[in-house]
Amino acid sequence: MFYREAGQYKTTYSADQAVFPILQDRIGIFVILLLAFVVVPMTVSGFVLSSVLIPIMVFALAAIGLNLLTGYTGLLSLGTGGFMGVGAYACYKLTTFFPDVNIIVLILASGLFSAAIGALFGLPSLRIKGFYLAVATLAAQFFLSWCFVRVPWLYNYNVSSAIEVPTRTAFGVHVTGPNATPVTRYLVVLSIVVLLTWIASNLVRGRIGRMWMAVRDMDIAAELIGIKLYQTKLIAFAISSYFCGVAGAMMIFLWFGSAEADSFSITQSFLVLFMVIIGGLGSLLGSFFGAIFILGLPIMLRTLPELFGLTIRAATVEHLQFMITGALIIVFLVIEPHGLARLWQIGKQKLRVWPFPY
């Protein structure tokens, strides 16, 4: 009744090909952006901003990156954590070499290094596929984590072998380092994520995205209709790693404030993969849902017993959290194997025909 595109006539091709062709969607995204950019920074406390919203944004971006590779191109990768690390360390080196450059530019540039490394480790993808490729990308993960520990140049020969984020500004405002307010950091993260999501949404609708999906659906058939497999797969690896690299740089510069090699362990790779699969393979919106679900779950599990007035030992809570997370993943996959994005689709469809059942 309220969500129905009947009567919305398109008179130009550009109107027909808009990112949000339906008026209600445009209003919806406008309201969400208004909330995110204006209302949230004014109302939400700094603690929530830096411990809930920034992480969700950062991981959503990483999940979009992996989704481009796994969901759209069908190449399973377990090296996300490593690629995020490349972005972070590249950004750190860039801030060392160019201390006066706008930090936002550096964060966006650091993704390029990650893209190069990603394309390099994507080279085996023409020969091998499926789980074999997943294990091959683990090589990237372990090799890169090893580099973060063993190559002292990367962390400027620090004694602690950790990277400490320096104070940097953009447009005269402190963006990184201890002087940056959570609101500034949140707004920077949000802007970058919105920008890159918009780019990604246009990528997957365009020629490149269609090539990716053709390769995902059947690579031999894609090759027969003239898609260069190698090129397509390498582009997928490079762009996916770019997104992951930017996410990694943001994670360290705008969230953690300092990093060790451990920040980019295999655990991160798995976490991002969870988000992609729970959110929905091949859906950008799903990446956000997945990040919210996976990061929100522990917070919920921690606060839930308190709501009911139960007191459980911290260790037990942690164990229970593992069990419940595991069980929920399975239950969730059984109920909806196509992820939260599919649930959203179904909901939209129901809304469209409401009040009739079909």
Partner: protein, 318 residues
């Protein structure tokens, strides 16, 4: 030039100078490789029969060992605890089949892979909740596993063999032989091979897939228990063992996902390659290369044989 010398000549000269050290390293690698091979074996069993890439195999190893030690700590005699643990693994197999595999049948591989991640988390939580997360000592002497070492004098030096490693080698060989006989000679084994060949064809001749899955997961559980006991006897039983599951993955791609001999040969190659690489070439790169060397070896193999050493040839049709 100096670097080339250090990479291509120096390690071999070292090997020539101290053959006993080389033998010792080889043996260490062999034992490590055997344990990788056993974990890979669990993977292969499940992958062949149900097409599931079982990420939880590593955790099943820890969980089995933890159950055994935990039960013993609660006052159950060692061998009764062993029996009970086998029972627990059976219950686990049935539960996995009922609650995970059956509802998810015919879903894409990646969804099932994801589900085994859920299983991993669940087992970690359960194991820690029931038995506590602190490292435990494996009840090796209660299970009459030998202790101490044998020194073998050779090349003017000596090579020391831990008795527990020898026992592990024997047990592993016996287990693999038993599995081979089980697969080749028994009725269930034939059914298993039929399922591995084609699910649909197996179903059409009246083989119960559900039953086969329980059998396979139970077998993998027993393999996990044996691995857990042996690995636990060498170090401690703790969730740090989890990391060896990741080490088994390059073994898998080296040997091929569907080949039992591949898992064993792959395990030995990775185990020996890793130890030799770490010992002779490691110092050159600032050590710690053990963590990724195995993957690199596997990657190089993959470039030449994308389906692994013994894997079935991948035939693709449109």
């Amino acid at each position: 030039m100096d670097l080339l010398y250090k990479i291509f000549a120096d390690p071999f000269i070292q090997m020539g100078h101290a053959p006993d050290l080389l033998l010792q390293t080889l043996w260490e690698g062999l034992v490590g490789g055997m344990l990788y091979a056993l974990i890979a074996l669990g993977f292969v069993l499940i992958f062949k029969a149900s097409g599931v890439f079982n990420f939880a195999q590593g955790i099943m190893v820890v969980f089995a060992a933890l159950t055994l030690v935990g039960l013993h700590a609660k006052g159950v005699p060692a061998f009764l605890a062993l029996g009970l643990t086998i029972g627990v693994m059976f219950v686990l197999a049935v539960a996995v089949e009922r609650l995970v595999l059956r509802p998810l049948v015919n879903q894409p591989d990646i969804i099932l892979f994801m589900a085994t991640f859920g299983l991993t988390y669940f087992l970690i939580g359960l194991g820690e909740l029931v038995f506590g997360g602190d490292p435990k000592v494996m009840i090796a002497s209660e299970l009459y596993l030998p202790k101490g070492a044998i020194d073998w004098k050779v090349f003017g030096g000596f090579v020391s063999f831990q008795k527990i490693d020898i026992a592990a080698a024997v047990i592993a060989s016996v287990m693999v032989a038993t599995l081979a006989v089980f697969f080749q000679k028994t009725r269930i084994g034939r059914a298993l091979r039929a399922v591995a060949d084609s699910h649909k064809a197996a179903l059409s001749v009246g083989i119960s897939l559900n039953q086969i899955w329980v059998v396979v997961w139970f077998t993998a559980g027993i393999v996990a228990l044996a691995t857990g006991i042996m690995w636990g006897a060498r170090s401690n039983v703790s969730f740090a063992l989890e990391i060896i599951a990741l080490k088994a993955l390059p073994v898998l791609i080296l040997g091929g996902f569907t080949s039992i001999p591949g898992a064993i040969v792959g395990g030995l190659i990775i185990g020996i390659g890793e130890k030799i690489g770490e010992f002779y070439w490691g110092p050159l790169f600032g050590s710690g290369i053990e963590s990724w060397l195995a993957y690199m070896i596997a990657l190089v193999f993959l470039l030449f044989r994308p389906q692994g050493l013994f894997g079935e040839r991948i035939i693709e049709r449109i």
